[in-house]
Amino acid sequence: MNIEIILHAGLATGTILLFAAIGEVFAERSGILNLGVEGMMLLGAMAGFSTSLATNNAWVGLIVAMLAGGILSLAHGLVTIHFQADQVVSGLSLTFLGTGLALVLGEGLTGQHPPTIPIVDIPLLSQIPFLGPVFFSEHSLLVYVGYLFAPLAWYYVYKTRPGMHLRAVGEKPSAADTLGISVYGVRYFYTFVGGMLAGLAGATISLSVSPGWYSTQTTSGQGWIAVGLVIFAQWNPMRAAFGGYLFGMLRRFILDLQGPAMLFGFANPLYVNSNYGFFLQMMPFVLTIIALVWGSRAATKKRLGAPAALGVPYIRGERGL
């Protein structure tokens, strides 16, 4: 139980949630609820892993993982944007589809060791006491990418013109349409972006944080936690990033609780009977529930809510949002 290790590991595992959650923020901001994150992540993890194995290059793996997630998400886009199908059911079927594809194509990948994303120290910054070892050393390059990506995503959504178009399409597509913004185009684009980021999140697992292919255990529900985080983050990329890191740290802290024989001067029940560990394994999911309840209450108080057109198909020339 070492605070430095917990923070360090939390940043690494939090990066997975960061990519997936920010991707989902983009999709939902455009009005498309994509519940298929888990499936896209799993497909991304598989695609990245097997490509890295075949090409002996983790970076190619990363790109293929993003493309795989993105292309899969287009199936959701087509069905919900053009066919106006229910987004919840379509997202669920995307999860089945992604999981099935990943399992079928990932047959026989377990136990292989492809090249992974390099782990590096940032020169100078890693020398800072405490902050250096936690934030800037012994991290996968992807963690540093995450540091930069979250504020950039925030800036993009709130401070740029395309970001404004994105929000407009999610809040009032008919108004955006009159301004000459292509509602369908924007929605397809950000669904694709969300899929790419989910694929990246998957590859972050299989090529960096816990390298390997363990079929459905690879993602083990993190895609769903990411979807939950988006609501908790109130569709704000920075909050999604913080949420992801916080979650990663809590996760590690919970795991570490099992280590010491004595805890605060008492015999540690988790050490005495390791079966109590099942209650610890529940905690990430219980925490998500608590975070959601808390987030929903705060959102109601501040009258913040989901993008108004979230989950509502847009049909030009019809009454609606």
């Binding site: 089945f96 589809l97 399992l103 047959e107």
Partner: protein
């Protein structure tokens, strides 16, 4: 590129013909099979052989058909659970967790034990297990229902998270308190807690030997009739459908939406819990890990493919029961998962045909 024809989507003004949903569902399933076959071909399999295997392994003889029905049994109940909730546009995707809680609670009857298993008649033990199973599922449905009613928390995520919680909760008890000599399962239940099976009659009727179909399928059919009655014939069902179709109108009509929300989630959970009970008491006869190969999730597809109609749920469940039976032996193992995903995608895509007429129009005529 200048094609002489163009495709026009024309919004339907009149109701679509009654037979259309059944036809689109059927065609979607066929198309899904064809697409999966193509995928299988690409990765180097033999689709026709797999298809032939699929039919012989699931409908080929009475014993294998009974296997298919055994797998269809929990799907009927879970499918109904999803259908009821979806009717009210409540996205209960926690049937898997409710299934496990139902299994856990009904097991308590035997494991605690709640009654003296030696002297109590079988009828009472089974009834108690049914009630406990439904309570277990209902509790697991109450939590997301209450949170949604009270705090407007998204039920999709909550039900999903509760799936994992239920799984670990179950694991704790089968690894710890009730572990059978350190194995990840409880000891086998006494025969009194087993649902009657057709093979029990093998002494009198030779043809029933090895037929594992159990009483649970009857629960499923009765549940389907009750749910049909609730949805189509009762006042409550009318409220559920009204809230689902037009919550605004329902509110103006003075319906108590929050109360209905919690009640429907509990009903949905109870049905999934009943499925858990039937699986425990009819098939595995003990509480263990992996009682369900994802019944709760398959139930979502079943409900949707059945267009939320209780009787169609039974028919669709048999198809998916077959998929599960065959899927255990078809390699690669993810194939039935993939097929399920493609089926669902095809079904929701085909819904567009119910809302639009698609016509080919000659361009010259347009001009």
């Amino acid at each position: 590129m200048n094609l002489p024809y163009t495709v026009i989507f024309e919004k339907r003004t009149a109701d679509y013909p009654k037979w259309l949903p059944a036809v689109t569902s059927l065609v979607s399933v066929l198309v899904a099979f064809i697409i999966s076959g193509i995928v299988l071909k690409i990765i180097g399999g033999d689709p026709l052989r797999v298809l032939k295997f699929f039919f012989t392994a699931t409908f080929g003889s009475w014993p294998v058909f009974s296997d298919t029905m055994v797998k269809a049994t929990p799907l009927i109940m879970v499918g109904l659970a999803c259908a009821v909730a979806f009717k009210m546009k409540l996205w209960n995707i926690g049937a898997e967790g409710q299934f496990y809680m139902g299994a856990f609670f009904s097991s308590l009857v035997v494991l605690v034990p709640m009654v003296n298993l030696e002297t109590t008649p079988k009828f009472i033990v089974i009834t108690l297990m049914i009630i406990m199973g439904m309570i277990g599922g209902a509790i697991w449905g109450f939590i997301p229902g209450y949170l949604k009613a009270k705090y407007q928390v998204n039920e999709i995520i909550i039900t999903l998270m509760l799936n994992y919680v239920a799984l670990y909760w179950n694991n704790f008890w089968i690894f710890d308190k009730w572990s059978d000599a350190g194995f990840q399962m409880t000891p086998q239940f006494e025969k009194i807690a087993w649902l009657p099976r057709l093979s029990d009659l093998a002494k009198e009727y030779r043809q029933f030997s090895g037929i594992t179909l159990h009483l649970g399928v009857v629960f499923g059919i009765i549940a389907a009739i009750i749910i049909w009655w609730i949805l189509e014939r009762s006042h409550w069902g009318y409220e559920i459908k009204l809230i689902g179709d037009n919550p605004q109108a329902a509110r103006y009509a003075g319906l108590n939406i929050t109360r209905n929300l919690v009640l429907v989630m509990m009903l949905s959970g109870a049905l999934a819990g009943l499925a858990g009970m039937s699986e425990i008491s009819g098939v595995v006869h003990r509480l263990q890990e992996k009682i369900s190969p994802g019944y709760g999730f398959t139930g979502i597809i079943v409900a949707w493919l059945a267009k939320l109609s209780p009787f169609a749920v039974i028919i669709v469940s048999i198809l998916f029961g077959a998929l599960i039976v065959a899927g255990r032996e078809i390699q690669p193992s993810g194939l039935s998962n993939l097929l399920q995903g493609i089926i669902l995608f095809m079904v929701i895509s085909s819904d567009v045909l119910l809302r639009y007429k698609i016509r080919l129009v000659r361009l010259e005529q347009e001009a």
